[in-house]
Amino acid sequence: MKVIFKTSYDNDIDLHEDGWARGRIALLVVVMAALPFLVGEYYLAEAANTLIWSLAGMGLMVLVGHTGQASLGHAAFLAIGAYTDVALMNIGVPWIISFPLAGLATGLFGALVAIPAVRMSGIYLAIATLALFVIVEEMVILLEPITGGVGGLMAPSIEIFGVNFDRYTNLNNFYWLCLAVVVAVTWLYANLLRSPTGRSFLAVRDSEVSARALGINITRTRALAFGLSCGMTGLAGSLLGHYIAYFNYELFSVFISINLLLVVTIGGLGFIQGAFMGAILITAVPQLIAILRGTVNDLTGIDLSVLPGLDTLIFSAILIGFIIYEPAGLWGRWLKTRVWFQLFPLARRDMFRRQKSYLKTERQR
């Protein structure tokens, strides 16, 4: 087992525990940056899709994983991001400005919505976000001049200082653009978590009363978390718009909200890495199902495509399995596996046994 000898408080303040960890992350970024030279166009597009999902996943992770608030309507914020970006570009604003503005607008909208919403707790907030989603969806249809209504609209191609980043004509560039955005947001997010702001999020999540007793303004902290979450999701939405290129309100269905929840829960609540693990899973599983379907068809002649909704069934089964057997998600599983190897052969079977717990009500009557 690796032992780190800490010589200064900076060891704890830094993002990575030592040079090795820093090197691993750097290597990962380099490999990701070199991906266009390693894989074909199809898989590169999928990789860009995964990056966008990771970004949206991080957005939801701030809320669900780090402030303990549930949202069942995050697709609404993807939509707001996408439509704001395209609307601004359509009136001639260059992408480099419209993109951050889209994030900002979504974040502001989220924070404004959050101020009444954060007074509600737990389940009520989840329901309110679901209602908000339905309202946003209807608004998108009603605001036809901006959103193209039911017919939808075309996302203009991205150009920065004369360089084209169109998803179809210059996929490599588009991929690098997504990667740059994701790396930047991840860095900001990681910084947030090691700073007082991030700690106040965790405090609000774990014990509201003591957070208040320590001087943390619950309403403001939650609204900030909501705003940041929506901002990140808005950025993801805007990239998603460009990725899909031609979209209408159906792109942002309630299923997208649920897939996003899947990303954060299966990935591992409370870990940035979890958002990435979840995003990889959610983009990889449909591919695997397609391959599986082909194999089954070849081997047995049974055509599984007559069962529509098989994808959702498999997703649901995975989700149920994780919630029951591994609530810490893929990343939590990995951490446990790592400890097992580090301690080998001393790890005991019961080491990660969950404490038996009972439901305790928060109601007084």
């Binding site: 405090a203 014990s207 957070a211």
Partner: protein, 256 residues
Amino acid sequence: MSLLEVEDLAIHFGGVKAVDGVSFAVEAGEVFSIIGPNGAGKSTIFNLISRLYKPTRGKIMFDGRDITPLQAHEIAPLGLARTFQNIELFDHSTVLDNLLMGRHTHRSTNWVQDMLFVPAVRRAERAHRRKVEDVIEFLELEAYRDKLIAGLPYGVRKVVEIGRALAVGPKLILLDEPASGLSVEESQEVAYWIEDMRRDMGLTVLMVEHDMSLVTQVSDRVLAVANGQPLAQGSPAEVQSDPRVMAAYLGTEVYT
């Protein structure tokens, strides 16, 4: 002028008068204890002072300022920290992070600076860490620094709870049953810490406690309450020998 003055404090939940007309004053630098049988309203007084409950009537003055109209999160910045009877720690964080969360009122950076992690944030973090290390050293928590709360034994959590309140850097610390559930040795340790807090750190301590030996050992003055009403106030020996207090503990009615 007293550091904390409570005047005619009352809170009624429906028809239940949980606290009814309690007044007392805590002088700077003293250890003041509130005792009373279960359900006497001791913790409710604490929740009123830390503004988690809104009083039905009465006034709370802290450091010359009326804190009755303030909200719960506006109390800690004035220099008033508290612990909870049933341990309210942040279970999924380490001991170190729990203590750092206690430094919230001293934060000097905003969320934009935090996200960019500008040099000021690092400087502030180092300063917070130094303060927190003082607390860790004082309470001898070194061995648990990087441990998650969720896996710690009860006694240690109780100490971390005190540590988090100390990290706030308060003038007045409210300890809600600091020795409940602790062994004799552990509560003796708590007694030493309370004495050190007063002597070395110049803190004022307001405590709710059942353990009479701890109360007698550290308190300058004691207030006894029963059924939400004050019974007696004075030195530990005076209060303990008061017939009304004895009656309240033995459960008989007092006729005066």
